[in-house]
Amino acid sequence: MLEIKNLHARTTDTEILRGINLKVAAGEVHAIMGPNGSGKSTLAHVIAGRDDYEVTEGEILYNGKDLLDMEIEERAAEGVFLAYQYPVEISGVSNKYFLRTAMNSIRKHHDQPPIKRTEFLELLKENLSRLGMDKGMMDRSVNEGFSGGEKKRNEILQMAMLQPKLAVLDETDSGLDIDALKIVADGVNALRSPERATIVVTHYQRLLDYIVPDKVHVLAGGKIVRSGDKALALELEDKGYAFLQELAAT
């Protein structure tokens, strides 16, 4: 589904990604771990298409297509979803209206008619109850005045409603207590299917207790320095990230 080859990306003054190679097949869940500043979030945003980053080398293939050649909204419409570490507030726009507009934008891309109101509400109700979210939140402005946990849940709600093919979760666990963490993980697990893939970007191992990854990659200094299975995450927790800096340097 996703194939990243020798990806280099930079901001105006620093090179952040220095040759990432990664293959994610449909049905898989990959975890990307690493210390602060290793480039985890940058990788997530380069996949989503944020134009603060310039890709200087390499390519990303998404279902065989050149992802880097696609506009941000085109990637979204084709099924790429990023759950933000810091979800953005949109004043005066109700969550419900925002969700429906997003769904319809994506449907329009696929030449589908807008979703029927009743169908939308039914789907929303179902997902809200699964995520333990209050219906009242749907009439509030997007993320405005939401607590950290509410914002993260709201991201997962959007993911559940938009049904992406490739979901990238950027530090979705940060700032969540254990109960919220479980709910968020349930939301992600509910979406696991043979047609979908998920990339979980995280600093800590604990999220992976609930979202069990097929593969774990460790990012340091803008490169993947080790890949393995779930055991690697545990090893990292044990040893900490310090030893990786040496690996990255070599």
Binding site: E71, I72, E73, L82, I90, S91, S105, L162
Partner: protein, 481 residues
């Protein structure tokens, strides 16, 4: 990031869709202003002497005045002698029915989305269509008259209801009020007159649609709305003009009078031609709008969506004279390209327990400059009066500006005034977030802007709210690459 900025700049580019010109022969007088011109206008309208006298007094006062300079807008000096002060499409002097209206005129309004034909008129909205200096048609007159509601062109009201016009004309905005009000009083041509009798809830929305067509012609209309005891009316005003390279002057006066327990809701969607991307052409809009809550428990509420004009200078105000009266001002003002707006309101609290609310939303794009200027006055007798003001500014791109000038004067210690202000930018992170969810850049900006204006849209009559949304998205539309 620079590409994002370039994109936002493109958003500031706008397409004006009402810029066509109607080719129709006009009865216009030569440019210039003098006592003779005032007399000529008055005689063309066959006015009674008292009105001519009033006009002349206004004119004589006007020549002693200087243009106000305190506003935060810049423009080259206006040559008041270069403007035409009266222009009317040539047609039969007295029209018996719409069938006699020139088809070119009907077509003009049809194109603007305001059908005037009996079969096609807007459901439940009575429209007075003002073209340059004259009113060409008023719909639903009979229906309204059954309820005792008088809704007609000002020039007709002068003849049909002189006692009412005489009583209220200039009673809220005297001719000496300011430079532009004096100019308007001297040369005003047409406009709408509405009178809602005691205890009547006007059965439909009343609306006037102003269109400037002729070249070098100013429009100076005058609107007067009187709501008697316990009456209610909702009034809508729309305006457009063709694209012209030179600036055109629009100096209107609107007076509202609400007696005991009466309520007037006045909504404007102002879409005068704003000029092109280089700032060439566009309407200079210098308007005096004021309402008097004369009666106890009366209420006047102004809602405006300002997307047009090269320059907007306008402060719809309320004088809260009656005890427990309520004044409201809800405003969205957009300045894109080279547009400049200095707009706001005045709430003058005189009576006890009077209440006012001000919600102002300014949106600036391109190199547009948007100023909010508001005055809240609590007079000595305004015991327990309350005001709440909220002024928010939204910037699109980084070459535009937003300014807030609040003036507060409190002479009664039991009165309470609250003022809140905020300035925000349409964030790149917001656009990125919405695009990541599948919205195009254009839809994303529209969503952010509409969200910003929500509090004002919520109080607009529904059809107007839809029009306002559309208008705003057109205003900020760009050829996004």
């Amino acid at each position: 990031m620079t590409s994002e900025n370039a994109m936002l700049e493109e958003f500031a580019q706008r397409e004006y869709e009402h810029g066509f010109v109607t080719d129709i022969e006009a009865d216009a007088i030569a440019p210039g202003l003098s006592e003779d011109v005032v007399r000529l206008i008055s005689s063309k309208k066959n006015e009674p002497d008292w009105l001519l006298e009033w006009r002349l007094k206004a004119y004589r006062h006007w020549v002693t005045l200087d243009e106000p300079k305190w506003h935060n807008v810049k423009y080259p000096p206006i040559d008041y002698q270069a403007s035409v002060y009266y222009s009317a499409p040539k047609q039969k002097p007295k029209l018996n029915s719409l069938d006699e209206v020139d088809p070119a005129l009907l077509e003009t309004y049809e194109k603007l989305g305001i059908p005037l034909h009996e079969q096609k008129v807007l459901a439940n909205v009575a429209v007075d269509a003002v073209f340059d200096s004259v009113s060409i048609a008023t719909t639903y007159r009979e229906t309204l008259e059954k309820h005792g509601v008088i809704f007609r062109p000002f020039s007709e009201a002068v003849h049909d209801h002189p006692e009412l016009v005489k009583k209220y004309l200039g009673s809220v905005v005297p001719y000496g009020d300011n430079f532009y009000a004096a100019l308007n009083s001297a040369v005003f041509s047409d406009g709408s007159f509405c009178y809602i009798p005691k205890g009547v809830r006007c059965p439909m929305e009343l609306s006037t649609y102003f269109r400037i067509n002729a070249q070098n012609t100013g429009q100076f209309e005058r609107t007067l709305i009187v709501a008697e005891e316990g009456a209610y009316v909702s009034y809508l005003e729309g305006c457009t003009a063709p694209k012209r390279d030179e600036h055109q002057l629009h100096a209107a006066v609107v007076e509202l009078v609400a007696l005991d327990d009466a309520e007037i809701k006045y909504s404007t969607v102002q879409n005068w031609y704003p000029g092109d991307a280089e700032g060439k052409g566009g309407i200079y809009n210098f308007v005096t709008k004021r309402g008097a809550c004369r009666g106890e428990n009366s209420k006047i509420s102004w809602t405006q969506v300002e997307t047009g004009s090269a320059i907007t200078w306008k402060y719809p105000s309320v004088i809260l004279q009656g005890d427990n009266s309520v004044g409201e001002f809800y405003s969205v003002a957009v300045t894109a390209n080279h547009q400049q707006a200095d707009t706001g309101t005045k709430m003058i609290h005189i009576g006890k327990n009077t209440k006012s609310t001000i919600i102002s939303k300014g949106i600036s794009a391109g190199v547009g400059q948007n100023s909010y200027r508001g005055e809240v006055k609590m007079m000595k007798g305004a015991a327990n009066a309350r005001n709440f003001s909220q002024c928010d500014s939204l910037l699109i791109g980084d070459r535009c500006g937003a300014h807030t000038f609040p003036y507060i004067e409190v002479r009664n210690t039991t009165a309470k005034v609250e003022h809140e202000a905020s300035t925000s930018k349409v964030g790149e992170d917001q656009i990125y977030y919405l695009r990541q969810r599948g919205l195009s850049t254009e839809d994303a900006v529209n969503m952010i802007v509409n969200g910003f204006c929500k509090e004002v849209y919520d109080v607009l009559p529904m059809e107007f709210a839809i029009e306002a949304r559309k208008l705003l998205s057109v205003s900020l539309e760009g050829s996004v690459g």
